[in-house]
Structures are given as structure tokens and as C-alpha cells.
């Protein structure tokens, strides 16, 4: 019976966060600090003709102005980076600032003004005058969609069966196009770095989901041995993918600090964030579904086109999960990309999945209406018992239970099938559902535990906590397996002085880092057991392996006979030890290869719509998630709520607007780019259907940060259709689209 795992625990960093003591990247106090302010360009493509910095340099407090003319060249990017949706490492070709006169996108950084104060730097930045040789640009994915091609990385799309012929022969077909605009992460904390050089050693405080990734990036940029670079990021004020890759500002900040021989701080403005870290790409999807009259899918053809930049191929694998959600013998589902003169897109919460599933799950709803079959029933009819892509069994899959329990809880049986058939007074009521899916990923990760004679433990791993509650979950896992109390465990993260962990992306932190902490605790146990059994009269002689014993309340005892134990402090004293330190690297088990490992969920939403004014309110949402074991339901529930709120934003509000004449983002701020506010969010309930999955990892956990969002935009769009009879296939569903 677990003592901590599976029980609600308040965040161990809670007091630090509610008292303002938690320190984020820009908040570290460093002496002799200079402030950098980035100057953004004003054309979408071309070259810089001239930069006049004279007026800016004359203003009070300016230390130096860096442009491509005087900025030192950074070393070649030798690093690779992790691509969460594909679970692979790929060559990093990301954009770096001030390295040439070439303009790749509008609002590209063209200079960095460094001054004694923030006010001085911001003002001088306005006085830098740049002229350009502008070239014809293209920022409209719609206009170039016909030129879309397969991305250079990732697997080429395989065809399953004979989709074209099966589609022709299908008695019932639906076909439609769905559009998702560019969206931006907009974490509340702006990206920031403080760079401090001590000789040739570099320390950077950064907002990042991947301290080791930033370290590699900086080491290659400045030609340093990796150990000479230290990256520190104890708190991250939201990221959602916007800090997975090393963005351009850490190297820019470190470059300025090196040149000026003093610490420099650079913080993005909200506007600079819109071209400073990537975004969810503009995605146009065409889906055709063919089925027999009973609703069984005969063919699926799902083509996604999204934009990338001219700098590199980015591919969010939009259609990836289409291959695995429903049983269907004939399928073609490529994701194509088309370059545009915009910054490179990046991963944004539930990357690819939420975009692809928006289209697929709306199309499934359309098919349900074409067939006059309940939308939920259609999903059960096409339930995939094994992975349709590989034919392998699922390591666990309780999706059917999610559908049924969610439907029960929601009252789905009272849903009237006909659109526009349910009302609450003047308001139209709509009920919609959709499936959520995400991979149960795991990456190699390391953790170190120092267990002390007083029963306390220091646990470290260079992961991050962008909000899911990693500090708390790792504390719980360590306490569970070290047999002490959470308050005796101090877990630290976000620093390259700690053992290596993967980036916090792709909902894999608990499975990867949690497994490492678990393994390190077992290693401590094994060490203590070995020490105990050095004694001839050890009461633990019956233990063949560390798994035969457990640590609990200061004792190491036999699982099979808890009356046989040693007192750990006495054992350590006898061996002249004050502490035991073990580092453990966990790796995904080869057993996983025999299975498809995925997390699933079902989402049910209710919308109420004012038919005259077109305003949609999501009045009720139920998330039912099957994602293995839940370690801390309190924080997991928060993740699910966050997923729904993100789904509401994507479905109803969010769009990055570009004036294609200028190729410039015109709403790079939070007054014009709308994200949900408190009044947009109503009841959200979560049910966890736990799965006993010993394949995915020793803790049996799957990710959930992305999962909770994946089906929500489709469920909302389907509910809007049910309420109004209007099928809106282009997000966001703003009031004007419903008049």
C-alpha cells in the first residue's frame, strides 16, 4: 500500500510561489548588471542595407550596441535536439541573432542595445535606424499550400491498404477542410537570460525546459567545453513548448556579456516573444472518411499542410495519431510542410496531436451525422483493440472505459441527436465529445540521491518544473521508496550541476525522471542491503536482491517478513558512513518495443450559445483520462484543467494575425491575442481511470500534460455544431462566425 503515491499532496514549492520568493530567470541579483534591449526588424525578407546607431549611442547610459556588423560570430551548431512528438533527436538548425545581414522574418532581431538601466536601453533601442534591401516575401500558408512537400526529417508517410479505392467504394463518405491559425504559447513569464562570465566560465540563468540543451547550445556557440557552462533554471513561469529549444536570446545575452566583460540581462518584451520562440504552425487539413452503413471505417485520407520557415524544416507530425486512434484497414495520412518567410514554428502544448485530432475528431462527428449514429457510438464501433499501425497490442488501453464512464457522468444518454434541439431559455445548448490521445514516452534520465544518516535525503536531477508539479512528484517518489517522509526529502532541479535529464516536453518527465529517482532509491536500498549482509548475522540474509527488501521509517526490512530488519542509522554508523550517495540512469525497457504505449482519454463538453450574439460559453467539461498511474492527483487534476482551458482558447479565441502585405504579426500582445480569462472558464471535472501498466516504466505512469488538451477543441467545435447546426471548420470560433 503506497504511503504517498496516488495521494493528494500540496506543492512543495507552494509557499515559495505564493510569497513571491520563487526566483525566475530574470530575478537573480547579480552585481554590475547591464540591461540589453532587442531591436526588431521591420521587413519580412531581404538584407540589411545599413544600420545607423549614432543617435542611439549618444543617449545617456548606453554601453554598446551590437549589430551583425560588430557581433562576434558564434560557433557552428553541433548540437542535436529532442523532438517530442517523434521522440527522436534531430540536428539543431535554429535561428541565431546578429550573425549576418540576412532577414528571414519580420520582427527579426537586428540589434541589441546594452545600457546601464532598462529605461535607457529601451529608449536607445528606439533610436537605432535600420534600412533594408527588401525582397518579395510570402507569409501566407494558404497561398502556397500547393507547394507543400514532405519534411526532410521524420518518417515518410506509409500508405496502409488501398485508401483511394476503399474510399471510392465506401457507401458513406464525408470530406472537409479544417483550418487552424498560427497560435502562440504566451506563457506568463517572458523569456529571459542573465549571463555571467567568470573568465572563460559561463553561467546563464535562463527560462528553459532543458538546461542541458541550452548548455550544449552555449558551449558550441562559444567554443567551450560543456563543463565550463552552467545553466540554471529553478523556476519556469510557464513554457508549453516555448522553451524546449534554445531560443536566440541566451547566446545573444552571453555574447554581449562576454564582449562587455560584465553581466548582462535580456528579457523579451511580450511583443518580442511572438518572433522569439516559435509557435503552433498555421495548419490546413483535408480529411476524407469512408465508412460502411454500420459506421465501420473503410478508409481514412488525412492530409495536413502546415508552414515552416525558410531556415529549417519543422514538422509537428500533425497526422501522426490519425494512424493509431481508430481501426481502419485503408489509410493515407501525410503531414506536409511549406516554407514561409516567418520564424520557425515549434512544439506547442499537445503539438501535432491537438491540431490533427481537431480535424479528425470533427470529421468523425460529421461522419456520425452523415450516418445518423450517435457520435460516441461511432467511436466505439471503430475502437482499436490493437495498434492499427503496427498491429502490436497496447501495453494498456482503458479508452472504452473512459468513453462509458464519461458519458455516464455527463448524462450523454439525454443528448438529443438533432442539432439545435436543446435549449436553456434563450440559449442554445450543445454537447460534444472527442477522443484524446498521446504517446506514453520515456527518455533516458538520471537522478542522484544522497541519503543521510539522519533519515533525510537530497535528490537531484536536471529536469525542470514548468508547472506540472515536478518538484512535488519527485519528492513523493523519493519519500515513497526511501521510506522517509516528504519533508525529509529535498529535491532540486533546473541546474546543469545535477545529473542529466531530458527536456520537459512531450509529457515524459514523470515517466523518465520519476523512473530515475525510483531507480536511485532502489540503488540506495541495494547499497544498504549489501552493507547489512556483510555482517554474518544479518537478519536480511534471505534477501536475494534489493527488491526483496524495503526502506521504511529508518529501517531496512524484508518485504516477506517485516520483523526482520536492520536500523539504517545503526548500519551506517557501523560502517562509518554519514551518507550514502547513488546515481541512477533509467532507460526505457526493451519490453516496450513489443507494445504500442499510449495514453488515452475522452472529453465531453457542454456549450451554451447566445444565438443572436454568437458568444459561446463552455459551461461544463469532463475529462476522463487513462494514463497509467497518477502520482499526485491534486497536480494532475490541475494539468487536466489546464488542458481544457487551452482547448477553450484554441477553439474559441486564439489566433496570431499576420498582415501578409508586410508579412508582419499584427497582434503581438495580450490585448489583441486573446487567451482565456477567468470568466471564460466554468465547471471542469476530471476522472482518472488508472491502468496497471508494468510495461511503460516501473512506476506505471504515462504522460498527461498534453493528453488533457488533445480532444478539447474538437469537442467544443462539435458541441457548437450540436447547438447551432453550424459546422465551423476554421478556428477560432469567434462570435462573428456564428451570426
Amino acid at each position: 500500500m503506497p504511503r504517498y503515491i496516488g495521494k493528494e499532496m500540496s506543492r512543495v514549492d507552494g509557499v515559495a510561489k505564493v510569497t513571491g520568493r520563487a526566483k525566475y530567470a530574470a530575478e537573480f541579483q547579480v552585481p554590475n548588471l547591464a540591461y540589453g534591449f532587442i531591436v526588431l526588424g521591420t521587413v519580412a525578407k531581404g538584407t540589411i542595407k545599413a544600420i545607423d546607431t549614432r543617435e542611439a549611442e549618444r543617449t545617456a547610459g548606453v554601453v554598446r550596441i551590437f549589430t551583425h556588423l560588430n557581433a562576434p560570430k558564434l560557433g557552428p551548431k553541433a548540437s542535436t535536439e529532442y523532438a517530442p512528438p517523434r521522440n527522436t533527436r534531430e540536428q539543431d538548425k535554429s535561428f541565431r541573432a546578429l550573425q549576418s545581414d540576412r532577414i528571414y522574418f519580420n520582427a527579426q532581431p537586428v540589434a541589441l542595445v546594452v545600457a546601464e538601466t532598462y529605461e535607457q536601453a529601451r529608449y536607445a533601442a528606439r533610436l537605432v535606424k535600420v534600412t533594408y534591401n527588401a525582397e518579395r516575401h510570402q507569409t501566407d500558408t494558404e497561398a502556397v499550400r500547393e507547394q507543400a512537400r514532405a519534411p526532410s526529417q521524420g518518417q515518410p508517410a506509409k500508405t496502409r491498404g488501398n485508401p483511394q479505392e476503399a474510399m471510392r467504394n465506401a457507401p458513406v463518405r464525408v470530406e472537409a477542410e479544417y483550418r487552424i491559425p498560427i497560435e502562440h504559447h504566451n506563457p506568463m513569464e517572458p523569456h529571459a537570460a542573465i549571463a555571467v562570465w567568470q573568465g572563460d566560465r559561463l553561467t546563464v540563468f535562463d527560462k528553459t525546459q532543458d538546461v542541458y540543451g541550452v548548455r550544449t547550445h552555449l558551449a558550441t556557440s562559444f567554443g567551450l567545453p560543456e563543463p565550463d557552462v552552467s545553466v540554471i533554471s529553478p523556476y519556469v513561469g510557464g513554457a508549453f513548448g516555448a522553451s524546449l529549444r534554445p531560443n536566440y536570446y541566451p547566446a545573444l545575452t552571453a555574447m554581449a556579456a562576454r564582449e562587455l566583460k560584465r553581466p548582462v540581462k535580456v528579457v523579451y518584451t511580450r511583443t518580442q516573444m511572438f518572433t522569439g520562440h516559435g509557435y503552433r504552425p498555421h495548419t490546413i487539413q483535408k480529411i476524407a472518411l469512408g465508412a460502411d452503413r454500420s459506421g465501420k471505417l473503410a478508409a481514412m485520407i488525412h492530409t495536413a499542410v502546415h508552414n515552416s520557415s525558410t531556415i529549417e524544416d519543422f514538422n509537428d507530425n500533425t497526422t501522426g495519431f490519425t494512424r493509431q486512434v481508430y481501426a481502419c484497414p485503408n489509410l493515407y495520412a501525410p503531414t506536409l510542410i511549406v516554407p514561409t518567410d516567418l520564424p520557425t514554428p515549434t512544439w506547442m502544448r499537445a503539438p501535432g496531436a491537438v491540431s490533427g485530432m481537431f480535424a479528425l475528431e470533427c470529421a468523425m462527428d460529421e461522419l456520425a451525422y452523415a450516418l445518423k449514429i450517435d457520435p460516441l457510438e461511432l467511436r466505439l464501433i471503430n475502437y482499436a483493440e490493437v495498434d492499427p499501425e503496427s498491429g502490436r497490442p497496447f501495453s494498456s488501453k482503458a479508452l472504452r472505459e473512459c468513453y462509458r464512464l464519461g458519458a455516464e457522468k455527463f448524462g450523454w444518454k439525454d443528448r438529443k441527436f438533432e442539432p439545435r434541439s436543446m435549449r436553456d431559455g434563450r440559449l442554445l445548448v450543445g454537447w460534444g465529445t472527442a477522443t484524446g490521445v498521446w504517446g506514453a514516452f520515456q527518455r533516458p534520465a538520471s537522478a542522484r540521491i544522497t541519503f543521510r544518516i539522519d533519515g533525510t535525503a537530497h535528490v537531484t536531477s536536471a529536469t525542470s518544473d514548468i508547472g506540472p508539479g515536478t518538484y512535488t512528484v519527485m519528492t513523493m517518489i523519493a519519500a515513497e521508496y526511501l521510506g522517509n517522509r516528504p519533508e525529509q526529502v529535498k529535491f532540486e532541479l533546473g541546474d546543469t550541476k545535477f545529473p542529466r535529464a531530458p527536456s520537459q516536453g512531450g509529457s515524459q518527465t514523470t515517466s523518465s525522471v520519476g523512473s530515475a529517482v525510483h531507480g536511485a532509491a532502489l540503488a540506495v536500498t541495494a547499497k544498504l542491503l549489501a552493507l547489512a549482509n556483510l555482517q554474518a548475522d544479518s537478519p536480511l540474509k534471505a534477501a536475494a536482491a534489493a527488491t526483496d527488501v524495503e526502506m521504511l521509517d529508518g529501517r531496512l526490512r524484508l518485504k516477506s517478513d517485516p520483523t526482520r530488519f536492520v536500523v539504517i542509522s545503526e548500519l551506517m554508523r557501523r560502517n562509518n558512513l554519514t551518507e550514502v550517495t547513488e546515481t541512477f540512469e533509467s532507460r526505457p525497457s526493451p519490453e516496450r518495443q513489443k507494445y504500442a504505449t499510449m495514453a488515452h482519454g475522452a472529453q465531453f463538453v457542454e456549450v451554451k450559445i447566445d444565438p443572436d450574439l454568437g458568444q459561446v460559453r463552455v459551461t461544463r467539461a469532463i475529462e476522463v483520462s487513462a494514463c497509467g498511474k497518477i502520482i499526485n492527483p491534486k497536480a494532475s487534476h490541475s494539468q487536466e484543467i489546464g488542458g481544457v482551458v487551452w482547448g477553450i482558447g484554441m477553439a474559441l479565441q486564439e489566433a496570431t494575425e499576420i498582415d501578409h502585405r508586410y508579412g508582419r504579426i499584427m497582434n503581438p500582445n495580450l490585448q489583441h491575442y486573446h487567451v482565456p480569462v477567468n470568466a471564460d472558464v466554468h465547471e471542469i471535472e476530471t476522472m482518472f481511470v488508472e491502468e496497471d501498466d508494468t510495461v511503460v516504466n516501473p512506476l506505471g505512469v504515462k504522460g498527461m500534460g498534453e493528453l488533457g488538451m488533445v480532444g478539447v477543441p474538437a469537442a467544443i467545435a462539435n458541441a457548437v455544431f450540436h447547438a447551432t447546426g453550424r459546422r465551423i471548420r476554421e478556428l477560432p470560433i469567434t462570435p462573428d462566425k456564428l451570426l
Partner: protein, 275 residues
């Protein structure tokens, strides 16, 4: 860093971080979870967070100026304004650039980084502080404008070791994830509770001519809409504020599916393809 202002009274800005060890709220169970709720008692672990960072900063604070470090030729402030800032009960005289907003004065001059910069444009609420007891945005307030006013930041809400009830409720209900909007949310909530006590109305008040001091959840939602939380902790923020406002505990909105329930739907699923 702080040599450019006079400390006219002993500031609480560098309060002993050890005090953090004791700043623990008393928490109780919420709802009727199958699995019991673990009260937070990790004082030691908590204190460590702040201490670890302090240790890093202490090391950096000792850094001397590198040979060849480049400074601006004339770093003197243009348009300096001398202001006496009263922050969390301590008064300080400070010479600021006229362009400096209160937010930057707190974060860049006074080491009060609890107040957050989210947009710097009045569009997110992360920088909310209380001025003379009312919630305002420090990003759109010049430092010079608060001369003589009482400013309260998130650092000033707890009374010694005791968290403000709103802070404790945020922990209890998990009213945050990344924590970055949290100080602004909390200051905003503290201001809101006062506004409610005064009977102020909002956009969702049905009859603005009537007076009530009792806030529904919808009233709290509307009144907290000036504080964006991108992690989406809104329902839990509302629950926390509702409890601080009315003492009413909010129902738990998550549960584990029980084994017998699972067995039942699995059995039904085997025999029935309809919903």
C-alpha cells in the same frame, strides 16, 4: 545595488530567509477523496528552495568588476525624481529615472522580485500590487506617482510566519501551476475581497442599484478576469478566493474511478456496443 537610496526605517526586504521554514499554512482535507489528502508539512524542503537560490546569489554578489569591464561614459540619470516609497511598511527614498515604473523599481532596484512582469502593458495582471489598499497595475504606474502612498506587494502579505488566508487558500486548492501569475492573482484577490466588503458591483452584477457584499463564483470569475493564468488554474483560483471570502469549501472536482465501477463498465462493454 541598494547604495543609491536611504533606508529611513529598517526594511523587511531582506527578511531572514530562515523564516521561510516556518511559514507553513495549516491545511485540511478537501472534499471526500477516496485517497486521503496529505497536508503540507514540508517545511524543510520548502525552505531549501529559497536557500539554494540565495546561496547562488551570495556567491555572485561577491563578484568583483572584471578588468576591462565596459561601462557607459555618463551613467547619470536623466530627469531623476526623488521619491519616498512606502513598501510593505518600510519607507525608502530612491532616486529614479522619471521613466521608471513602479514594477521596475520593485524588481530592478529594490530586489522585490515577487511582483511579476508578464506583459508590461496592462494586459495580463501579473504585476498587480496594492496601493493604499487598492489593487492596481504596477507596470502602468510611474514610481514617481506613488510618492507617499502605501504600497503592498506579495512579499508584504504574510504576517511573520503566518501566510495571508488567500495565500494559504491558493496552496490548499492548488490555485497555480508555474506560479508566475500567482503573486498578481493573490494581490488582486486581496484587493477584490475589500471591494466586495464595500459592496462594489461588477459586470455580472444583475442589479447594479442593489448592494450586496456576497460574491457568487461568477462574480469572482468576472472580478479576477484582469489576471491571466496561462496554466489555466482558474477554477482552483476561484475556489481559493471563495473560501477566503465566505469560508465555504469548494467541492472536489476530480476522482479516481473505483475498481467495481470499472468492472461494471467493462462487463457492459463486452455485451453492448451502444452507449
Amino acid at each position: 545595488m541598494n547604495d543609491d537610496f536611504d533606508v529611513t526605517s529598517e526594511p523587511e526586504l531582506t527578511a531572514d530567509e530562515e523564516a521561510l521554514l516556518k511559514e507553513m499554512p495549516t491545511l485540511t482535507d478537501i472534499g471526500q477523496a477516496r485517497r486521503t489528502f496529505m497536508g503540507q508539512t514540508i517545511a524543510g524542503g520548502l525552505g531549501a528552495f529559497a536557500l539554494m537560490l540565495l546561496e547562488k546569489e551570495r556567491a555572485l554578489a561577491a563578484l568583483s568588476i572584471s578588468p576591462g569591464a565596459v561601462f557607459a561614459p555618463a551613467p547619470a540619470l536623466e530627469n531623476p525624481v526623488r521619491v519616498v516609497l512606502k513598501i510593505n511598511g518600510a519607507a525608502k527614498a530612491l532616486d529614479v529615472d522619471s521613466r521608471m515604473v513602479l514594477l521596475d523599481a520593485l524588481r530592478e532596484r529594490l530586489e522585490l522580485t515577487g511582483t511579476k512582469k508578464g506583459c508590461d502593458q496592462g494586459q495580463c495582471g501579473a504585476c498587480t500590487v496594492l496601493v493604499d489598499g487598492r489593487r492596481v497595475l504596477s507596470c502602468l504606474t510611474l514610481a514617481a506617482q506613488v510618492e507617499g502612498r502605501e504600497v503592498t506587494t506579495v512579499e508584504g502579505l504574510a504576517k511573520g510566519d503566518e501566510l495571508h488566508p488567500v495565500q494559504a487558500a491558493f496552496i490548499k486548492y492548488d490555485g497555480f501551476q508555474c506560479g508566475y501569475c500567482t503573486p498578481g492573482q493573490i494581490c488582486s484577490a486581496v484587493g477584490l475581497l475589500e471591494e466586495a466588503r464595500r459592496g462594489e458591483v461588477s459586470h455580472v452584477t444583475e442589479d447594479v442599484t442593489a448592494t450586496t457584499t456576497r460574491l457568487s463564483d461568477d462574480e469572482i470569475r468576472e472580478r479576477m478576469s484582469g489576471n491571466i493564468c496561462r496554466c489555466g488554474a482558474y477554477p482552483k483560483i476561484v475556489a481559493a478566493i471563495q473560501e477566503a471570502h465566505s469560508g465555504k469549501e469548494s467541492a472536489q472536482t476530480w476522482r479516481f474511478v473505483e475498481g467495481d465501477e470499472l468492472a461494471r463498465v467493462r462487463k457492459e462493454g463486452a455485451t453492448d456496443e451502444t452507449v
